[in-house]
């Protein structure tokens, strides 16, 4: 019983801590809540009016929601780029920060699940996905795999983070058997979430633009570039805003990972472009639409060239010694994240539908309502991550711990 009481006290303390903060903290959280609420409002609107409130059509039946989802699955998977150095190569400096990556994975997976939910025409029927209430088309449907791996990854990370933080709070050494096996499962799981998400598209023979074996490796490479880049930026924010100091060492290691991943990503992109344009079969129409426009339809052309430009810029900076200067490194990271976000969203999801399998060209642009929902989910994800950092950092710093009379002995 005392264990449960102790855990309950822990939760109460976290709850109280959540509301303690400077006016800056309140302003930031208030701002994010406001954007989230605007998103909730837009979603309520969409629930009532149907998905006609979006820019999607029968021809382009997936849009901004699935694009953001795909990008974010990559970011979530990239937490593994902290876990591997920390747990496999046992690099001490990474050990301190690995938790931030795992917490980010939790927030990002939540965003992924939200993006999928808002994409549903009938979110009220979500139980249909869950046996025994529903009928999951597993193992045939790749989407059913995705539901399993995403939720599994969320649970794994919740367990790892929750357990480590709670042990730190109690002032005990975490028992390896309670988290190390999960950490290693999570490494494979992280790769699987992104692979499965790629297979979602790759498995569709009717869409030659996606039906490409290189899509999955390209997914992973771009994710392992964008994810660590996001972590580089986040770590700098953490060390500036909170009391938790993160040295430059993890940043430089992440920079190396980002650089290599980006190199691989660009190489794979080159391979893909070669296949599409050298052979020049009719199967490359979507690529033609994306890179050069088709029959006067060219909405995505400026975007994809911008993305390529940003990625090349980021690569040039990252491989040069200039990236030792933090502001330049940050600029490269921002360029990289934006570049990959465009590449995955507008560059991969939307052109898969253009032209349709019957050759009809219908273009896509998210509607305002759709955009608000996306912004709302992003704001909610950032809100969630901010809150997790807000309560996790005092625990990691030892500021929040069990009182001497609360703690029960390790071996009662």
């Amino acid at each position: 019983m005392s264990h449960i009481r102790q855990y309950f006290q822990f939760l109460v303390k976290i709850w109280c801590l959540s509301w303690e903060g400077s006016w800056r903290f309140y302003l930031w959280m208030g701002f994010l809540s406001l954007i989230s609420l605007i998103g909730v409002h837009a979603w309520a609107e969409q629930l009532v009016e149907g998905l006609q409130t979006t820019g999607m059509t029968n021809q382009v039946s997936w849009g901004a929601y699935i694009a953001n989802f795909t990008f974010l699955v990559g970011v979530a998977a990239a937490a593994v780029m902290l876990v591997i150095p920390a747990y496999v190569y046992k690099i001490e400096s990474m050990h301190e920060v690995v938790l931030f990556g795992e917490l980010m994975a939790i927030a990002v997976i939540t965003m992924c699940l939200l993006f999928v939910t808002v994409d549903l025409g009938r979110p009220d029927r979500f139980l249909h996905l869950m046996p025994p209430f529903g009928r999951m088309n597993w193992p045939i449907s790749m989407l059913s795999w995705d539901v399993i791996v995403l939720n599994g990854y969320l649970i794994l990370n919740l367990h790892i983070c929750g357990y480590l933080l709670y042990m730190k709070y109690l002032g005990r050494t975490p028992s390896k058997k309670f988290y190390i096996p999960f950490v290693f499962v999570a490494i494979f799981w992280a790769i699987s979430i992104h692979t499965v998400t790629a297979f979602l598209y790759v498995g569709l023979a009717g869409r030659p633009f996606w039906n490409h074996p290189i899509v999955a490796p390209r997914f992973l490479a771009s994710a392992f570039a964008a994810g660590p880049a996001l972590l580089i930026l986040t770590f700098q924010i953490i060390r500036r805003v909170t009391g938790f100091w993160i040295g430059n060492e993890p940043l430089q290691l992440l920079r190396r990972i980002t650089t290599i991943a980006l190199l691989i990503s660009l190489f794979l992109l080159g391979c893909e472009l070669f296949v599409e344009f050298y052979s020049g079969t009719y199967h490359s129409v979507s690529a033609k639409y994306l890179w050069f426009g088709l029959h006067g339809h060219d909405r995505l052309v400026p975007w994809i060239w911008t993305a390529l430009g940003l990625n090349v810029f980021a690569l040039c900076v990252l491989i040069s010694p200039g990236a030792n200067r933090l502001w330049l490194l940050d600029a490269a990271c921002i360029a990289l994240i934006v570049g990959i976000w465009i590449e995955k969203g507008m560059g991969l999801i939307v052109p898969g539908f253009i032209p349709t399998p019957l050759g009809q060209i219908v273009e896509y642009q998210p509607s305002w309502n759709e955009t608000f929902i996306c912004l709302g989910i992003w704001a909610f994800g950032i809100l969630m991550y901010s809150w997790m950092l807000h309560v996790a950092i005092p625990i990691m710093n030892g500021e929040l711990k069990a009182g001497p009379n609360e703690a029960i002995p390790e071996n009662p």
Partner: protein, 289 residues
């Protein structure tokens, strides 16, 4: 406090949800294949009542089951079709889709492609042609669901809301579909449509002869598709698109009957399968004569 007030305000649009749009009994309804006969008849009566309230027409919604020894297939003569779109419009009327504005024809299960003679590449096709047909140096190819034997759409569905019936028709349980639209992405024939809004059609446009798995008026937010007019064909009749064709380009029948019209076509004509390379084994054939 402010947070809760904000949340309530944000959710305000939900108040305008009509009664019946989302109801508890709908949420608890089982998958089509798990429903007993009594449950089904209760659901059908409820749907009839709901449809009467919403659209002002007393419809008759049935659940005619597939018959033994029947496999439906369709063939279409590319030599005969003139591209008049009678089929696409008849489809709309038969299957109770929106008839509110002129672009509702978009929801028709049939898309008629105009192709240049000398090429069979649908990527070069045009769906927007108008005026008198057939045009010089053009030929026409209506495309609808091919009822593939190895259907990528049913593979894609995460909740088994779409499956192939014993008579070879791929159907959707509109009360089970979650609206993720993965099946639409999977279809190589652009044969599936999504209910982006609640269908709106005046009482005089409602076809009261309805079936649970085919042409009953669909709820908002689910995917629908051609069922070879299952509500007609399971009762022995021809599909609506065939009956309206002024050129007799369309041939429909039972694959398992060796003397059927469709088997005659398969045996005696040059048959072409669209996108055969997608490997989906369609039961919709194009032929030349």
């Amino acid at each position: 406090m402010a947070g809760i007030a904000g949340l309530v305000t944000a959710l305000k649009p939900l108040l305008s949800l009509e009664r019946g749009d989302i109801s508890l009994s709908d949420l608890l309804q089982k998958h089509y294949q798990e429903l007993s006969a009594e449950e089904m008849s209760r659901i059908l009566r409820k749907l009839e009542k709901q449809s009467n309230e919403d659209y002002g027409v007393a419809s008759n919604i049935n659940d005619t089951k597939a018959r033994e020894g029947v496999q439906f297939a369709y063939a279409l003569s590319l030599s005969k079709c003139v591209g008049c779109r009678r089929c696409a419009h008849a489809c709309l009327a038969e299957n109770n889709q929106s008839r509110e504005s002129e672009d509702d024809i978009e929801m028709s299960y049939i898309r008629v492609l105009e192709l240049d003679k000398g090429s069979i590449n649908v990527e070069e096709s045009d769906q927007y042609y108008d005026g008198e047909v057939p045009k010089k140096d053009k030929y026409y190819m209506p495309v609808q669901c091919h009822q593939c034997q190895d259907s990528p759409c049913t593979k894609a569905c995460p909740v088994e809301a779409t499956w192939m019936e014993p008579d070879g028709v791929v159907v959707v349980d509109y009360n089970w579909c979650i609206g993720c639209r993965y099946c639409m992405a999977a279809c190589p024939y652009d044969a599936r449509r999504f209910n982006w809004k609640k269908p709106s059609l005046p009482p005089e446009s409602v076809n009261p002869n309805q079936n649970y798995l085919s042409n009953r008026i669909r709820p908002q937010g689910v995917v629908e598709k051609c069922t070879f007019c299952l509500h007609r064909t399971r009762e022995g009749k021809y599909p609506a698109c065939l009956e309206v064709c002024p050129t007799g380009a369309r041939v429909f029948g039972n694959l398992l009957d060796p003397d059927s019209e469709i088997n005659y076509i398969l045996k005696n004509k040059r048959v072409y399968i669209l996108k055969e390379d997608a490997g989906t084994t369609p039961k919709f054939y194009y032929f030349f004569d």
